[in-house]
Symmetry: D2
């Protein structure tokens, strides 16, 4: 089975691939990713679409939590995603850094910060995932 | 100038087009949209990616508010998007219905419900937009 | 044992009592409550404190879900509360109406609308509760 | 006129006073507060009421932003409060630390962390405030 976290190899097969998301680091406490500001992540008026930040936050939190809970026979799935947009980005790369703020037996909470190439904070996200026994 | 809300014509040029979003109704109080469950809206494990719901909510609220405030010389941009995922969708069409819950002079709040082909509630979103004078 | 949902009788013993919250209806799908705009629910500048709306939403969703899941040997506890403030209220009564939008085996999602005495929408809240087996 | 930020002196006159909130530090970038776990902040089942965390986050963000924007002739008011509950607290003191994550011309975003006496993270809040010219 292909590594489900290797998003780069699933080229046109998921939203993450369609939007050019790249996950560059996947620790249990910290994960990082990025995407280029190309047309596929833009809204009609030019800046990055709010949905791109939300999707990247979801991707990072979900992939990382899944990797952490799978060995215990569990699965993780998103329950809630709250993203605030602080500064529009129109070019370059969007950088995401996700930190695990809570890992309980049945849920996991991540906070994700997005910065532009100048290191300015552009968006904030809080993602809550449910952790449950894998259905058999 | 092309109608900026006619997302269908901007085929590969925005996130909305890349994910196959279709806006089918755009009133000041109610808007509707939908997207097919194809690979580009999936997460690695098969169901619709949480980011797809968030992005569609953002698209509906943003396009509709923009159309409402432009004649007054204003612009609208997303401030916050909070999406809760209630039931995974793996096939068919996701249907979105957005209702304007508040339209003030400087902000607009929409709530969006997502249902599957059987009419079951799959996700809920609340989107807050800022309304500001158009920069000259 | 006193009925734990009869908040009115626990006069000075909980936050709900301290802030004068009254729950007037408790169905599985719909609950209603209200509070008077007295000093104890005000912020320093006069209008109702944002925390009062959030607390009332939490109280309604929590009491109602608890009543629903207790007979099954479960407990409910709040996971997340997102309240948006749309219109300041400075006098009269704040009316809350809570609707259950999702009741799964392990979580429950409520949306709460707040109106003033003229029926104008003042705040919106979404509350997510976790449902778990009662610890023995 | 009394200093509107001196919440301690307004003993029984606001929600903050009714719940025993204390603001101990008020910088432009960082603010701190705390409250004792007495009955007035409890929910019916004993632990701290979710509304108490939400209210404290609102109080810290609002008082601090108001102090920052008043000299410029502006006012601040809460737009949105999203609080996640990670660990129940049943005794001792709840400590809140608020950080300003964004201060734009028309809005301000704060993130607030709540810890118990052992320093364990108990709740997270994100508060968005609108900044507007003071009405004359």
């Amino acid at each position: 089975m292909a590594d489900t976290h290797d998003l780069g190899e699933r080229s046109t097969q998921t939203l993450d691939a369609a939007l050019g998301f790249e996950i560059t680091e996947m620790g249990e406490e910290l994960a990082r990713g990025r995407f280029e500001v190309t047309d596929v992540v833009r809204q009609p008026f030019g800046p990055v679409h709010g949905g791109a930040y939300a999707a990247m936050a979801e991707a990072l939190a979900s992939a990382t939590t899944t990797r952490a809970v799978e060995p215990e026979g569990n699965i993780a799935f998103g329950q809630s995603n709250h993203t605030s947009f602080l500064r529009p980005v129109t070019r370059g790369t969007v950088h995401a850094e996700a930190r695990c703020r809570h890992r309980g037996r049945t849920s996991s909470v991540w906070e994700v910060e997005f910065t532009d190439d100048e290191g300015r904070l552009c968006a904030l996200s809080r993602v809550t995932l449910a952790v449950r026994p894998r259905p058999r």
